[in-house]
Subunit: 342 residues, 2 copies
């Protein structure tokens, strides 16, 4: 394996000394870029796009070229896991994912398969291709949804403000919920090990719907499975981003992971006090700040960097880029981080 | 003014001694009750329903009769304020509110009127009627949306997962945002004083979209206007419920209000440590818990009551009742609280 030319992200994740703060942006490969939209237009639908390794590799690398970020993140979707387990979905324009079948009974769960490392082969192919084309310029991040978030979609069948159907399942069918979570967890571990085998340099887990659970349910139905994944992934650093789970932050600092992602609700000093000095923090600029003028973006970004400090820290947004953010503003955010204190 | 037969809620709000914990439920007058649905069916649409004082009074009192709660809350909608200011809305079935016109410019803001105490007369009529029919059995809660949440709808034009349009307005047009917030705040103060004049015994402010703002924006665009309202409302106790604003809880304990509402993400001990002993806490059972069996509801409710303690506390849910929760489960929650430690 050839050495990475820029390994700032990996060093920051591991707590090694860095000469400047590394930076990337959630959803950096996305509609903010006209270059992305041009590639996207070559396919009929989002899922077809995700399943095309050549196109996925192309849009994965775009933000490295265009924004100059310190990492690429493989272009894919957290819902490839439910699909591979046997629950296909559609991506409905401006509405989000929709599953024709949802999980209701033990029979539904029994029918699901456990993914192996090569089950979702198109992602592995996309990673291999990206690694080759990246030519070790920056690390490549692999990812998966955290088990609770995947269960939430498999039971709810779509996005939701409350995920009350999925939460009802936890309260009324806790045994089935654990059975399903175990199957998702095992699939996810195998899937991530597959990604690592073909070259992913760091793994990020997205618990997008952490914030709808109570602290007690989060511990019982989410955190214990995240822990299993973190324990299993020993080959590369792992980042856990649980959106809205401020209440679990202290507990999450005990996970065997390298870094924790923070949303924009979370104050830097408060977060550092919760987690202690031995874990890297990642985040957390409000993506809406990139609607502001350049001066405001610079001032607020530098304020954030000052608060988090230059070590044990990875600059990012507190959520994915929104599609209508101007490309130049996103780029300016990256440049502001890269120019900070240098 | 005749004395209330049951003033537990008011005493708990003021920090006076109570012989048992008072309880009510957000959205207790709602679709959970077949009795509500029967009244609702008498009108063509939700807004017509809200504007009918007789029907509003009827459904306001239903939960007192059926659930035995310790307070009624006037049946209305937080969006009556934007409408009265000049921005009408529609309630689209299973989609939520939708505004044909939204606020974009200074001209749009200049055109808005400031509500007086009698502008939204149908709410005052509904309160008068309810007070009369309640016959002092329990206190009647009046309410309004907090200014940031009202601005969010007026700018976004509908509900949203991110409210990115409204947040963009704060970042790009801060002067206009403050102008609009001042107008909303003045309207809200007048509106609430009108409610108090006709009999509201306690006021609750709902900041439903607090959780989409960063701590800094919350301080600048939300909390300062909530403070103005709390300072102006001196006649009756005030409760502030800012959903998702865990990051501001300590700061909120310095508001001149009687009580703070908590969502179900918030741990009781943690909240009490944030706010100190001199403010009443209200909440915060996960409404989805009411999907569980009776034993679980009892166990978890009593656990919550034990954590919050019997004084300086009002039992409630951490969010409104969901429409598909069984009436008997909601009733059982109320009975569990009323039977606790008695």
């Amino acid at each position: 394996m050839t050495k990475l030319k820029n390994d700032l992200l990996l060093r920051a994740a591991k707590g090694e000394n860095v000469e400047r703060i590394p930076v990337w942006m959630m959803r950096q490969a996305g509609r903010v870029l006209p270059e992305y939209r041009a590639v996207r237009a070559k396919t009929n639908n989002f899922i077809e796009f995700v399943k095309n390794p050549e196109l996925a590799a192309e849009v994965t690398i775009q933000p490295v070229d265009i924004f100059g970020v310190d990492a690429a993140i493989i272009f894919s979707d957290i819902l490839v896991i439910p699909e591979a387990m046997g629950l296909p979905y559609q991506m409905v324009e401006s509405k989000g994912p929709w599953f024709e079948n949802t999980i209701k009974t033990k029979t539904d769960i029994d029918k699901l398969i456990v993914c192996q490392g090569d089950t979702i082969d198109y992602v592995n192919q996309a990673i291999s291709l990206t690694k080759k084309q990246l030519d070790n310029r920056v690390p490549l991040i692999g990812f998966a949804g955290a088990p609770w978030t995947i269960l939430a979609y498999m039971v709810e069948g779509s996005g939701s403000k409350t995920f009350s159907k999925a939460k009802k399942f936890l309260y009324t069918e806790p045994v089935l919920a654990h059975l399903l979570l175990e199957k998702i967890t095992q699939s996810t571990i195998n899937y991530l090990k597959g990604q690592i085998a073909v070259g992913a340099d760091l793994i990020q887990l997205f618990d997008s719907w952490a914030g709808v659970l109570s602290p007690q349910q989060y511990g019982e139905f989410a955190l214990r499975y995240i822990r299993q994944i973190c324990e299993a992934i020993t080959e590369v650093p792992t980042t856990v981003f649980a959106k809205g789970a401020f209440f679990a932050l202290e507990e999450m600092s005990k996970l065997p992971c390298s870094a924790l992602g923070l949303d924009w609700n979370t104050d830097a000093d408060w977060a550092r006090k919760q987690v202690g000095p031995n874990i890297t923090l990642q985040g957390n600029l409000d993506p809406c700040l990139l609607y502001a003028d350049f001066d405001t973006i610079k001032t607020e970004t530098e304020k954030m960097l000052t608060e988090f400090g230059t070590q044990r820290y990875i600059a990012n947004l507190g959520h994915g880029l929104y599609p209508d953010i101007e490309k130049e503003k996103a780029k300016f955010f990256v440049e502001t981080v890269k120019g900070f204190g240098v």
